[in-house]
Symmetry: C2
Subunit: 199 residues, 2 copies
DNA sequence: ACCTGAACACCGTTCAAGT
DNA sequence: ACCTGAACACCGTTCAAGT
């Protein structure tokens, strides 16, 4: 169980002051794009809006994936913490519930996190570390939940990830209201349990 | 209840023979792109691979949405038929199950259908007609299922659409096996029912 | 009718030149 | 160290010219 809270998220340790400022501006502009519903993050546009040359974007973020991971770092760390807390919950049911609720909240709030958790490749070391910490904690939550009969036999940590991303997808489709989040979370939680009518 | 089976799907009624041939080639090339996992359908590329000028693509399909809807027409018609059959099922449970199973099968087989059902806008009249036919049939399935206690109170036809698209999203994430489809369908079916542990 | 492809605007990415 | 922006390749879309 590695502590994650002390990872200096969005680390920009030895950067010249102008470099650090540019990096922040780029992250702000990119974040605004994501929140505005555009996940494409055109590098030219980001550069222009941040008032820097294109080359500067590529200097700070060699790929769009790297930019995404930088944006996702903060919410990602929160989810890892929540997962660790869930793994330490006395009640397996409560642990599972809190894990899924926290993850779904973060996923629907921060588009970057969903993009990173969906992507097969990883650009930053920090992301790898958080993925590993998350995997460990979720593994614990899952095995405790399964022992309590809260999960079908086939369901592993990766199924939870995929289904959560699926529910998130459903929630962000046009015309959805934020109130649906709790409802769909319940659908998932109840559906994950050992078979009722189905199979 | 409008009959859909006699809709001449992908109608190309009064087209010159070369026009019809080009249209088919374009659809084939585009379909191949989708099946290869690229949903972007670059018009230039489609044109080149089909051996026609770009303008020809735009002549047949004024927007990419129109191209998508043409590709989706066949699977869409199948789903409408399945929904109508499900609405006529004696058992509400069996009707709901068959509807979701048929829809999920079509959605995971044909990327174009998912794209069309996710899109807020409609380009072709034919699509509007099928949407309306689908809505009617699904409405019947849903009200019968709800009366049988198979659906939570909050769940309407549109929630079914969104959640199915969400499950489809989960299924197409990298590293998924086709065997997961039935499992996730069960998760959805069981989760949709009146509350168990959750809420 | 239908088709072609040049033309223009735009985005991704690199890299030589600047400070 | 870091930044700039020209340069090249590519894709979206239109439209004048062809058959």
């Amino acid at each position: 169980m590695t502590a994650v809270s002390d990872l200096s998220v969005n680390a920009s340790p030895d950067l010249r002051s102008d470099g650090a400022r540019n990096r922040e501006r780029l992250l702000e502009v990119a974040q605004a794009h994501l929140l505005a519903g555009d996940p494409t993050l055109p590098m030219h546009v980001i550069a222009r809006e941040a008032g820097v040359g294109v080359g500067t974007v590529y200097r700070h973020f060699p790929t769009r994936q790297a930019l995404l991971e930088a944006l996702a770092a903060k919410p990602f760390a929160l989810v890892v913490q929540a997962a660790q807390a869930a793994a330490a919950e006395p009640s397996p049911a409560e642990g599972l519930r809190r894990l899924l609720a926290a993850a779904l909240e973060a996923l629907t709030t921060d588009p970057s996190l969903a993009l990173v958790l969906e992507s097969p490749e990883v650009a930053c070391l920090e992301t790898t570390q958080m993925l590993s910490g998350l995997g460990e904690a979720v593994g614990t939550v899952v095995s405790r939940a399964r022992a309590a009969g809260l999960l079908r036999d086939q369901m592993g940590p990766d199924d939870l990830r995929k289904l959560l991303l699926g529910v998130r997808h459903a929630l962000v489709l046009p015309g959805g209201s934020p109130a649906l989040r709790d409802t769909y979370l319940c659908v998932l939680l109840d559906g994950l349990r050992q078979p009722g009518l189905c199979k």
